[in-house]
Amino acid sequence: METTREGIVCNNLDQMDVVFERTKVLHDTPTSYCPGCGHSVAHRLIMEVIDELGILENTIGVAPVGCSVFAYHFMNVDMQQAAHGRATAVATGIKRVLPDKIVFTYQGDGDLAAIGTAETIHTINRGEKIVIIFINNGIYGMTGGQMAPTTLEGDVTSTTPQGRNTLIQGHAIKITEMAAIMDGAYYVTRQAVNSAIAVRKCKKAIKQAFQNQIDGKNGTNFVEIVSNCPSGWKMTPIEANRKIDEEVIKYYPLGDLKTPPKGA
């Protein structure tokens, strides 16, 4: 190995041990996400889990409307693209006619917690045996930075130019807490992807959620991932990740909100 102006050059790759490989369940293509965006990490974690659990041939994903609308160009699994907010209804249709398949949705905060609130709540209430991945970055990234249902009080967006005023725009919604109190929920957790340790914990939670579905556990598996939006927040990626630690997880604390009773 030598360091040159072009970077680190490795002359004897074949003699080295492979300690990390990109999962083939991700398409070999650049994503459409902005530099530093948490979506890319979340995508990788889910695809690694599908790879490691050996369920690629059995899995169907549902992509939402939002920044991750093109998820099927990055996730190399069978996928359906749903109308805005309807991902869990689409997933319900798939899972009900093919109950032995593994079905997951991947949804942002506008999709899952604003326009799709009814579908989200009733899917969990029915205890659909699917995995819901909920990316919460507190903003509408795709449409250019408008207020999301999860935008924190005081945060400036293009539709809250004076900052979110709870007397006018209401409160940042705690839909994961709502999910956790429903009898249909089997496993509800909130994770983040803003640090190496958070990423490792997040992957473990995603794996647990999929394993529960593989095991036929009776209920919905809901994984919120607190993420960032450097472009929408008008911050550098490092500043955005720091905001998650200093502000976002104060309001949206990380950890399991509902775990199955022992032996369930």
């Binding site: 690629l56 041939e57 059995n58 899995t59 169907i60 549902v62 992509a63 609308v69 093109f70 099927y72 190399n76 699994v77 069978d78 996928m79 359906q80 693209q81 749903a82 109308a83 309807r86 209804a89 689409v90 997933a91 319900t92 249709g93 798939i94 009900r96 006619v97 093919l98 398949k101 593994i102 009814a118 579908e119 009733h122």
Partner: protein
């Protein structure tokens, strides 16, 4: 054919759907179609399918979307206000070319309107309904027997062309009881191999399948639009269906579909008793519309009377078919009122005087 049964239209339709191999039904209660939902709730699970009551029509149509994407025969049913709520999902299905059977047991509108029968959703059914350039295949039964028969055809056409197919019924056809016989139908012989596009997991490591209606590049989206329009032209060419009644010697032609064709047929008989040569053309497919047949008949008859249970919707398609070559009159009732045969006979007499018969 099996034995003759006395059934409600909604129930006959549901029974036919089960016999046609429907494996998923997703719906929401609304009058006057709830018997269909209830029949599925009682029978579908026991006969190898899945019934699920959704939290809304919006959710129901998206469940249909998801299940259809696995290549399963699926359907939903509703009535007018619920059908409006489904338009978003139907537009997505039209673009993603997902087959399914839709049923609208139409009631009077606009708004919450009335639960009584109407044909006020004709435009919504045949001109697209949701956003974007698309069409559904639209089938219009006029009897309980056809409420059953058109289900088989509906599923077959949906599968053949990868298109949502709609049965446009109404509150009276849904609620009334008539005798019905269910035809022999071997489901296996009718199922189409959809395995080249369905999303059921990348079995044996095959390449990814995905279902989408998103094509951001204008060049690509136009390609999709052209493909859909080409498909509609093929459907127009191959799948037009209608019934002609005593048109051979007719001076006056009635054009009516669904329930209003029943009143019109009675009016035709009454008028013939009075010496007026009346015939009727009943479109069974509303899209594709029997344009060529109406154009042909317009060269033979002296005037056309369009009878509908709305303010005049299909009459526009008759005008488009015929042009201004002969007088086209319209008689419609709204709000759940059904045109009565004697009212239609009066309109026939008026038109006869106008065209000097």
């Amino acid at each position: 054919m099996g034995k003759k049964l006395l059934m409600k239209g909604n129930e006959a339709l549901a029974e036919a759907a089960i016999r046609a191999g429907v494996k998923g039904y997703f719906g929401y209660p609304i009058t006057p179609q709830s018997e269909l939902l209830e029949y599925m709730a009682t029978n579908l699970d026991a006969r190898g399918g899945v019934f699920l009551q959704a939290e809304s029509e919006v959710a129901a149509i998206n469940m249909v979307y998801g299940a259809s994407g696995t290549g399963t025969r699926v359907m939903t049913s509703t009535s007018s206000p619920g059908f409006s709520l489904m338009q978003e999902g139907i537009s997505y299905m039209a673009c993603a070319e997902l087959p399914c059977l839709l049923v609208n047991v139409v009631r009077g509108g606009p708004g919450l309107g009335t639960i009584q029968p109407s044909q006020g959703d004709y435009f919504q059914a045949v001109k697209g309904g949701g956003h974007g350039d698309y069409k559904l295949i639209v089938l219009a039964p006029n009897s309980v027997q056809e409420m059953a028969d058109l289900v088989y055809l509906g599923f077959d056409l949906a599968d053949k062309y990868r298109i949502p197919t709609l049965i446009l019924s109404d509150g009276a056809l849904g609620q009334m009881m008539e005798s019905v016989e269910f035809p022999e139908y071997n489901v296996e012989e009718h199922l189409v191999d959809h395995s080249s596009w369905t999303t059921i997991g990348r079995e044996n490591g095959r390449e990814q399948h995905y279902i989408t209606s998103l094509h951001l590049l204008s060049e690509k989206m136009e390609e999709i639009n052209i493909h859909l329009q080409d498909k509609y032209k093929i459907i127009q060419k191959n799948e037009t269906r209608f019934e002609s009644i005593q048109t051979e010697d007719a001076d006056i032609l009635i054009v009516a579909f669904g329930l209003s064709s029943r009143s019109s047929q009675k009016a035709l008989e009454l008028a013939r008793e009075q010496g007026l040569k009346v015939g009727m053309l009943r479109p069974i497919t509303l899209f594709p519309f029997p344009t060529d047949e109406i154009k042909h008949l317009a060269q033979i008859v002296k005037g056309i009377l369009v009878v509908e249970m709305n303010a005049g919707q299909m009459v526009e398609d008759v005008h488009l078919s015929v042009g201004n070559n002969i007088p086209i009159d319209f008689y419609g009732r709204m709000g759940g009122m059904i045109p009565q045969p004697d009212e239609i006979v009066e309109k026939i007499k008026d038109l006869s005087k106008q065209v000097k018969i």
